[in-house]
Symmetry: C2
Subunit: 427 residues, 2 copies
């Protein structure tokens, strides 16, 4: 407990941690908790997927489409149904994409950038023609979301996020209501990256109904972890309210675009993805997609849809993932409690998703990550949870428990705790 | 022979054709020669591809990359090698894409539109910031190329194409040399869509060396049919000179981007694609792709690379395609000769690719296509070979022989010939 220590005790503790650290260094560890990457044991769960379509398979989709030939821009019916389950959307409002939902988000933003956006009163001006475009970024958030905006030179407006979702204080409310260059917001609404929180019904309703100066304001709803529960018990599962129905009810039916993928369901980067929006937005998008692509790989769509033919099959598959990763989350949380209780740190205990978000005392995150690196443990870059890699408090570290085997994870967390303590004591 | 007929003979011939046409109509035919789509017998050639990666497969690429997990933006080494063969490029200069090379072309154009283009003197202004962007379109050409430019509002400058490739007359030379808003040209350099011609070495050298007012002028080299020969005999195979080496030699190393896909090698839309350019362009593209995507499906890359592990394996596979489609090309050509010699029409006899390009007397193409449709034979829309669907001579019809079975193709061509004659006689 840091709290009760006087200067002498702190000094002794620092020396003890430094000795422990040197012992870790002597082991030449090479451990990695940097990325939200499934373990080999998890991707192995989907190896049966590889047998679904053999040489003698029927390659016809349920509507007769030959999945081994041209056609079907929006995806085959059964793949739209699978992504509809993940997106909480009517399959008719779903477009199926390739292995990268990031690509769907980039394309969505690029379309608005180049061609404007669909609204009740027609297509708006291309966002590239505006002097400035602003975007709301709840923090801590997902680094790739920020990188995407950075590529377009979009001004990122950070806003707080609490256990209920993004916090719309007066500053943000007034900005959105009065500044037509504020064009959208990033949301990871369930098991958020990295804080693990799920938006409350009130926050979802507020997002849908809030007054926006920009008629073409867009909620980019990256529901990456919609079926990624850690627990079988329904009481320990989060379910975010659907932004689509909320927007419809609020009279802003075109305000949202939802995204998801099977990257953390089957094979990262070799799965399928999906986008859902209002029927009119989907038509608008398809009209532009027609010049862009012949559509996403239908054989992989068919493979996935036959492997996960029902919501129940999908849930059963996700439970197998949970059995592998839940003990890893438990391990991280146990060591955080054992080592860092009373050290002025905090962390969340999520019911799903891929991350635990650690917040140390201000001014310790970079130093902790640096020490861990020199001790053989790679963590996500400090600052990555904020736009331009700049965490003004230098406090947040995203911990990704899924990739290392359990024994390595335990060791990596001991190193992490040791480094966190050194950084706190040396502050 | 139309040439020798007097008015009476023409009238009799028209009545005879009209009677034949009514007989065709009575058969309620439903035949399709509209799209360059492989026949089922062709896609069946690739069914063994579906067994390449089963549940117990080694999913590691040659460099150790786990193809079932995140990573590897540019593609795995063996897939870059396969696309390198198709693109006539060093694998190090190749980025692997998904099932749609159209998507690679769209992305390439969209990147220039939003972010400018790499040149020796740095990245140029985003093309979207210019008052106008022009693009050279050799005609007859590929409708999807034109649709892509249309989506961006790019001004299409049509130019002639002869048996050696695009014709740079004084008007075009001066335009390219003096107008910096002329930013590029579409090229289908081998077995061109639809004329089947292959660019001469002189044309390739000219493209690479010509004076361009735009420093960021781009040759979009859609080498869609690079390995799609109809004949085994090397003397009856075309091979276009490489635009990459030509540009390098001419001192314009960044002027070109090459595209290809396996859509007409394995499964259309479920294959892999590739883009090749100068090392500096590739670096520039990758830096921007990093914000866009996590990369193309590596399991499908691995599947394809193991199915077609060498240039020889690729050629052997393409010979199987040729054995299926060469008789179809021969059938179309035979019937054109039998029926339309001396009728003021012309057509090409390609050594590869997917199309035969028919040119009737001016003012007959639309009518021919319309009559054929009402006779139960769907042809490519007349005009599709020109920007905005506007063939000023109304003369060109693209014939796609690959999809129908041989007996249906013969019947469809008899209908076509009958309709062409009626259109000519009624003109």
């Amino acid at each position: 407990m840091l709290d009760g220590m006087d200067a002498n005790a702190r000094n002794e503790e620092l020396m003890a941690q430094q000795e422990a650290y040197r012992a870790f260094q002597a082991q030449n560890l090479k451990l990695n908790m940097a990325r939200g990457k499934p373990a080999a044991a998890q991707t192995d769960l989907s190896r049966p997927l590889l047998d679904v379509l053999g040489h003698d398979a029927d390659l016809a989709a349920s509507d007769g489409t030959d999945c081994g030939n041209y056609g079907c821009l929006e995806g085959i019916p059964e793949a739209r149904a699978l992504m509809g389950t993940m997106l909480d959307a009517d399959p008719a409002d779903v477009i199926v994409g390739g292995g990268s939902s990031l690509n769907l988000m980039y394309d969505a933003l690029a379309r608005h950038w180049m061609f404007g956006a669909h609204t009740e009163s027609g297509t708006t001006a291309p966002w590239s023609t505006l002097d400035e475009v602003k975007w709301l970024c709840p923090v801590p958030g997902y680094d790739r979301h920020f990188t995407l905006l950075e590529a377009f030179g979009i001004t990122m407006v950070t806003m707080e996020q609490d256990e209920n979702g993004p916090v719309f204080d007066d500053r943000i409310r007034e900005l959105v209501a009065n500044d037509p260059t504020v064009k959208g917001i990033w949301c990871v609404p369930q098991y958020s990256n990295p804080t693990g929180i799920t938006y409350s019904d009130e926050v979802v309703a507020y997002l849908a109904s809030m007054t926006c100066a920009a008629e073409d304001f867009r909620i980019f709803w990256d529901n990456a972890y919609s079926v990624h529960h850690l627990y079988d018990d329904e009481g320990k599962r989060d379910h975010v309210a659907d932004i689509g129905r909320a927007c419809d009810k609020a009279g802003h039916p075109h305000r949202f675009v939802k995204f998801a993928s099977t990257s953390k369901v089957t094979f990262p980067g070799a799965g399928i993805s999906g986008l859902a929006s209002s029927p009119e937005n989907i038509d608008w998008i398809k009209a532009r997609m027609n010049a862009q692509t012949i559509g996403a790989d239908k054989l992989n769509q068919l493979r996935h849809a036959r492997f996960l033919p029902t919501p129940e099959a999908l849930d059963a598959h996700m439970r197998k993932h949970a059995r592998i990763i839940e003990p890893k989350f438990a391990c991280v949380l146990r060591i955080l409690r054992e080592e860092l209780d009373g050290w002025g740190c905090s962390w969340n205990e999520p019911n799903g998703g891929y991350f635990i978000c650690y917040t140390g005392p201000a001014g310790t995150a970079k130093r902790t990550v640096q020490l861990a690196k020199e001790g053989g443990v790679v963590l996500t870059q400090a600052g990555a949870t904020h736009p331009h890699g700049n965490d003004p408090d230098d406090a947040v570290i995203r911990i990704a428990p899924t990739l290392p085997p359990l024994d390595e994870l335990e060791q990596a967390m001991r190193v992490f705790a040791c480094c966190a303590k050194m950084a706190i004591l040396q502050r």
